[in-house]
Symmetry: C2
Subunit: 464 residues, 2 copies
């Protein structure tokens, strides 16, 4: 019997977030007999981190609703999920994962290992933000259910909340706290909101709309915190250009200034780390070390268009890497395309936005042309049409669609169509000919996607 | 001066529907100096025929709202729009269009001619449907504003309406009359609703939902009408299989059994007519006769996938042919792709549906595989997700996506993404890797589009 057990493959997975959990599922689908063990340092099995703001706003009733795969689910799938078990070391020589659950040491052998250690928040250097090693009470990053539970205690109608960072998570949180009746301020060091998602001309549409509902400081750095009884009371911010300072009263401070890959275990094990700080993986989601895979926010892979390394925490990427690593770790053969499109979307203050591909600042300005069109979701004669603005970025030589951004009605689904165009390296004139679905209550004969391409195509022809 | 005028190109356009109107606009954009004349036999300049049901339902307030380009608009664009002017003949030898406005003969020379004569309703051979040459009072097809105005007089809450034909227009009208409070019956000779748009497994979803709201007879032929005082009172229908007859009381009968291309002028002029009965056009929208173009419902072009000739009245196609013919007639160079995707959508009884590419019955059954997935528009943990079912049809040899159908949330925009895949002859495994936009309030990490492709891909691999 002992002999028989040994002939099955041992797959170890570190982390049971979306990446680790998905890997485990697809490893199981690929090899029904393998021994799969998942180490999770926290108290919760696979849950949606992206859903946390919506529990805080009340859209999702309970934190437990976010759990996508329960401990029972893993048990039924014959996956050995070790909760509250923190991995200390990957013993590459002996192919062992060494962990601790409380004071008990747990050792598991592996033939294939998948690292899904995620990322950790970047806490900006704000004076007095910590007392000792701990953040001041009332100051939180939003990464885990535990963070969210702490934040929830500070949510109170009429009280003041400040968010540092006007990226997707910062603005999602701003909307959620605003819905909770809080008086919300957002501080962003860049000159625009959503600096990593939209170009300035597109983010301006968002900025104008949200400025009516919250206090927004762009081009401001948070420099100092003032606390009372160990609780945050005020935050000092400074205009980067003019050095003018302002003091914002606040009862709650959310840090949403991005994350960095959590790579310490992988680095010690010898996996190559890339220039973005993530674990380098290939199209099999394998690291520089054979049989060691990595997925999700802790990794670095290529942008599809620029072929430059990127490390971004998008659920859509995590899941696709998880599928890939799970299949390959279990002996299957599944490859990602050569780079990620970075398709993403969000919605706040009743504005939907989405983007695909690199933003203009990541492309060589001399090699691209863009076209932007603002139109409506329905034909002009049909009541109830909503505004939608689309921007496409194309290659000046080939006419190839490299990227697109959308703000307004059904932005996400429209960007999916443009993502399909980017993936196919489709040229703008072919896209102009795409017959989009038309019916008066649903969409106009020429969708705004097509019209944005018309603008780009005309600009392209003028320069040729 | 006379000499100068003569050196400009004369462009004549027959018909000011979406096809003719769009042609005129793009001819003007292409050549600012050309003399453009448009002959329109009716009383209304370019308006949306597809919008007519929504005026009848009250969604659009007035018939005049449907006018997309007014007589003033054409005047400002320096386009000579001749209203209520019926073309009698195209004199090919002398390059003249000969028309009549009342008793006055109007002759205009052309260098390029665009025929946009549309289509006319097919009236099925129902006994007593006509008195002399006229349809019985209360019996109408819905093609023009005038038809719709006549229908509107028969719309009355609590009264009975019957629709022959459960295609897109038939079901749009059923919903509209149902919204008006009428008691609606739909009679369809085929065994399913939407026989030209969806396969049976997909149309069943629609059929089940609408059967709760209206009386639906599929597999029934309308055979006889009974009138009183020249007004319709009853319609006799017969089950095609069992020959069982039923009598349906009705105060209004809408004929929605399709249309046939209106080609008489083109045929007399010598343009080749294809096997579907439409004027054959090429990728420049040019007919078999040099300098004579044709656009829209009167034409026949290729299906993109099967390369078989098709003649279908879709606004999205009409407009794209109009753009093409307009540019080319004015001396530009613009080509359509080799075939139409036939992307289409509609919405009735709160069900959105869409499709792209040929339906299964137009593809060789032995050469294709399909994958269907029913899922939700949002992640399971986010409240308010709506049902969406997607079917993809792929080539068994190449894995290439040939067609797709969707019923449910955002069906049209999802089909647009799949239309982009069909146009790029994308294979199903590449599509599975498409990163779709994800955010909890907007879409799940793996969109139903991707999951339908997973199903097809797995079936494909099993057979390989």
């Amino acid at each position: 019997m002992g002999f028989q057990v040994n002939q099955y493959k041992n797959i170890a997975i570190i982390g049971c977030g979306a990446g680790g959990g998905t890997s485990a599922q697809f490893a199981r689908k690929t090899d029904r007999n393998s021994n799969i063990v998942v180490f999770e340092k926290g108290k919760y099995p696979q849950y949606s981190k992206c859903g946390l703001p919506y529990v805080l706003s009340g859209n999702i009733p309970e934190f437990d609703d976010l759990i996508e795969f329960s401990e029972e689910w893993f048990k039924k799938a014959n996956i050995n999920l070790l909760m509250e078990t923190k991995v200390d070391q990957i013993d590459v020589k002996n192919k062992l994962v060494i962990a601790k659950k409380g004071n008990i040491i747990v050792e598991k052998p592996y033939n294939s290992l998948i690292i899904s250690t995620g990322s950790k928040p970047i806490v900006p250097p704000i004076q007095n933000i910590k007392i000792g090693e701990e953040l001041v009470e009332g100051v939180y990053a939003l990464r885990t259910i535990d963070d969210a539970k702490k934040i929830s205690k500070f949510i109170e109608k009429g009280k003041k909340a400040t968010i540092i960072g006007a990226g997707l998570i910062g603005l999602e949180m701003a909307d959620c706290l605003h819905k909770d009746g809080m008086d919300v301020t957002v501080v962003e060091s860049m000159s625009t909101v959503l600096p990593n998602t939209l170009d300035k001309d597109m983010s301006n549409i968002v900025q104008e709309a949200i400025s009516e509902k919250i206090m927004l400081y762009t081009g401001y750095l948070a420099i100092k915190i003032e606390s009372k009884d160990r609780k945050i009371k005020k935050i000092f911010i400074k205009n980067i250009k003019t050095s003018e300072e302002k003091i914002v009263d606040t009862d709650l401070l959310i840090i949403a200034t991005g994350t960095k890959p959590e790579i310490s275990l992988a680095k010690k094990a010898g996996c190559k780390i890339g220039k973005t700080g993530g674990i380098i993986v290939d199209d099999k989601s394998e690291t520089s070390m054979k049989d060691i895979f990595a997925v999700g926010d802790c990794t670095e892979y290529l942008d599809f268009v620029t072929k430059e390394p990127i490390s971004i925490g998008l659920g859509s990427i995590v899941v696709r890497q998880g599928i890939t690593a799970g299949i390959n770790a279990a002996g299957g053969n599944y490859r990602l395309k050569k780079g990620f499109l970075q398709t993403c979307t969000s919605e706040f203050f009743n504005i939907e936005l989405a983007s695909v591909g690199p933003s203009i600042k990541n492309l060589e300005n001399s090699s691209i042309i863009s076209g932007r069109f603002k139109g409506h979701s329905l034909p002009d004669y049909y009541p109830g049409g909503k505004s939608i603005t689309i921007k496409v970025i194309i290659d000046k030589k080939t006419g190839c669609i490299h990227a697109a951004q959308a703000v307004g009605s059904n932005a996400a689904q429209r960007i999916n169509t443009l993502a399909c165009a980017v993936l196919n390296e489709m040229d703008v004139d072919t896209f102009r000919n795409l017959e989009t679905a038309y019916a008066p209550p649903i969409a106009p004969t020429l969708d705004v996607m097509t019209l944005a391409c018309d603008v780009a195509s005309i600009k392209l022809k003028r320069r040729q």
